[in-house]
């Protein structure tokens, strides 16, 4: 078991404090090279004159791309639409997720509680493309809902449930639900039940105790979850692409079109910087709220 003396001497020559840095150095270097530098280059590219073709960074700096972005109504509208969509989705997700999180948090039976959490985690980890396949089979013109409604004679032609804004909202809510639930479960479980019991024993109804005691205490978690969902849904490409059928122009779609279809790297980078800033702002506020209860995974 004895290590070769040279190695031993080498290790004992390094002080433990310095050795700790060796643990983090590989990942740190990886992140700097493949995350910070590429994103930095993208930022720089967005200030280069617009051109068609592969990117070649120049020292010619201009804000033309940003003038174009903020001067053209279709890009500005796309930014507005993205933000509005993400806001609406956060709100709807919150309303659907709160009762779910509440029921999970109040399930004391450990087995049942773990089972419910496994369902949420499995849904969250499952590839979004597969979940959208199922949603599209449900919502399509020949989908299950339209078949059912037309079979019952309630409608004569298929109701447009997707390839429009409604479809994108339904898809983004499906995407965001697990993240919101996991954030809220932690917060709700952290609330001391004796507070609610005290309110009840003083004669408050369940609903009054909920709206006056439990819900107000959970508001930081509600805000954190909403910001997280905002950041996740404003960034999604796959949901607007499939559920909107490219008819709902949001920022991620524009980035892909500019770069992959038009080879306009500089302008694509500009749209990407705008999206990056919008999402990062939400995340910074989210972190500031002190969402430590949401867990390291959210």
């Amino acid at each position: 078991m004895a290590a070769p003396p040279a190695v031993r001497a080498g290790w004992s020559g390094v002080r433990p404090r310095q050795m700790k840095w060796l643990l983090v150095a590989p990942l740190f270097i990886f992140f700097v090279v493949f995350f910070v530098i590429p994103v930095g280059l993208m930022l720089a590219t967005s200030f280069n004159p617009s051109a068609i073709g592969p990117p070649s960074l120049t020292f010619e700096l201009t804000v033309d791309n940003y003038i174009r972005f903020f001067g053209r109504s279709n890009f500005l509208q796309a930014a507005g639409r993205s933000m509005l969509l993400a806001t609406v989705v956060s709100f709807i997700t919150l309303i659907i997720a709160y009762p779910m999180a509440f029921a999970i948090a109040k399930t004391r039976h450990p087995g049942r509680n773990t089972f419910l959490l496994i369902l949420v985690l499995a849904a969250m980890q499952l590839d979004m493309v597969i979940r959208l396949y199922g949603l599209m089979v449900i919502l399509g013109d020949n989908g299950l809902i339209n078949q059912l409604l037309m079979g019952l004679g309630l409608i004569s032609s298929p109701a447009p449930l997707m390839y429009n804004l409604l479809g994108v909202v339904l898809g983004l809510v499906q995407f965001s639900l697990p993240f919101m639930i996991l954030t809220l479960v932690g917060v709700i479980r952290g609330i001391d039940p004796s507070l609610e019991e005290a309110a009840r024993s003083l004669g408050a109804s369940w609903w009054r105790a909920f709206f006056r005691v439990t819900f107000p205490i959970s508001i930081p978690g509600v805000l954190a979850g909403s910001l997280l969902v905002f950041a996740l849904s404003i960034s999604s490409y796959i949901v607007p692409a499939l559920m909107g059928g490219f008819r709902v122009g949001v920022l991620p779609i524009h980035i892909y079109q500019q770069v992959a279809e038009g080879a306009r790297f500089q302008f694509g980078a500009t749209v990407a910087v705008v999206l990056f800033l919008l999402s990062a702002t939400a995340i910074v506020i989210y972190t500031r709220i002190g969402a430590r209860r949401s867990g390291g995974l959210a």
Partner: protein
């Protein structure tokens, strides 16, 4: 449960679970239907689409491409993430929290933007990996490592450092103390983290979008490309295999670590 919960909360919660899980159930049904498309009521059970998937060049090769990519990602993410989590739990330098947030940030930043910036970076630097499995590998490591850091960090939070210090004071080298004392007690957290890394890579779409080539695509991209035009039940059959893989992984994670504690930390 439920003694104190009003019935309406329970009804809403059940409806919410239906909304969350119904699409997944529908994929399973669509992959096992006997008809050409899934109808309501279903036309009966058959394995014809599963067989079609197992013979399809596109989906089967995409499935194995994703599997290989996820394994490669898992190995690197587990090593880099575990080492970083050790540093974050041991060090008391001032920027530690900021560094942790930095490492976790890819999870919540737009994948399309990060994928695009990597794609442009690979082209601009002439690395020649812009649309290869190596470029995808790098992108996936960025998105999988945060999950390892989160999971291993949770395991380390409940580990008593004084045990390792005791081994050191008895003359064990730092590496020996780590291998014999620390690693055995966090190994389940490390395994759970590596499963997360695998699954996150296996289901990754947004980062892969700019980085994958038409002939060698991960499964989510291959499914997306076919779904843009029409619904093929063999795509749903491919989905069934992915659903089985994810469910098995989550169940395995639950055996390794306490999911409740992990998620509510």
């Amino acid at each position: 449960m439920g003694r104190t919960l009003p019935p309406i909360i329970l009804v809403l919660a059940v409806l919410g679970f239906c909304y969350m899980l119904l699409p997944i159930l529908v994929v399973v049904m669509a992959g096992l239907t006997a008809g050409e498309i899934l109808t309501f009521p279903p036309q009966g059970l058959s394995f014809r689409w599963v067989a079609a998937f197992l013979q399809s060049d596109t989906y089967l090769s995409a499935f194995f491409f994703s599997f290989r990519l996820a394994l490669m990602t898992m190995i690197v993410s587990t090593i880099l993430g575990t080492a970083a989590a050790l540093f974050l739990s041991r060090s008391n330098f001032i920027g530690r929290q900021a560094m942790r947030s930095f490492f976790l940030s890819p999870v919540v930043l737009p994948g399309v933007v990060v994928g695009f910036s990597l794609y442009a970076f690979f082209i601009a630097t002439g690395m020649g990996i812009s649309r290869t499995i190596w470029g995808l590998w790098i992108g996936h490591i960025l998105y999988s490592t945060p999950y390892v850091i989160g999971t291993v960090g949770a395991a380390l939070a409940s580990f008593d450092v004084s045990l390792e210090e005791a081994a050191r004071s008895l003359g064990a080298s730092p590496i020996r103390a780590f291998r014999k004392v620390t690693l055995p007690s966090i190994s389940q957290g490390v395994q759970a983290g590596s499963i997360f890394a695998f699954i996150v890579s296996f289901g990754q779409f947004e980062v892969s979008l700019f980085l994958s080539a038409p002939n060698s695509e991960p499964l989510p991209i291959a499914m997306y490309n076919s779904m843009r035009y029409k619904f093929q039940p063999d795509a749903a059959a491919a989905g069934i295999f992915a659903i089985i893989l994810v469910t098995a992984s989550v169940l395995l994670t639950n055996r390794l670590v306490n999911i409740r504690r992990l998620l509510e930390r």
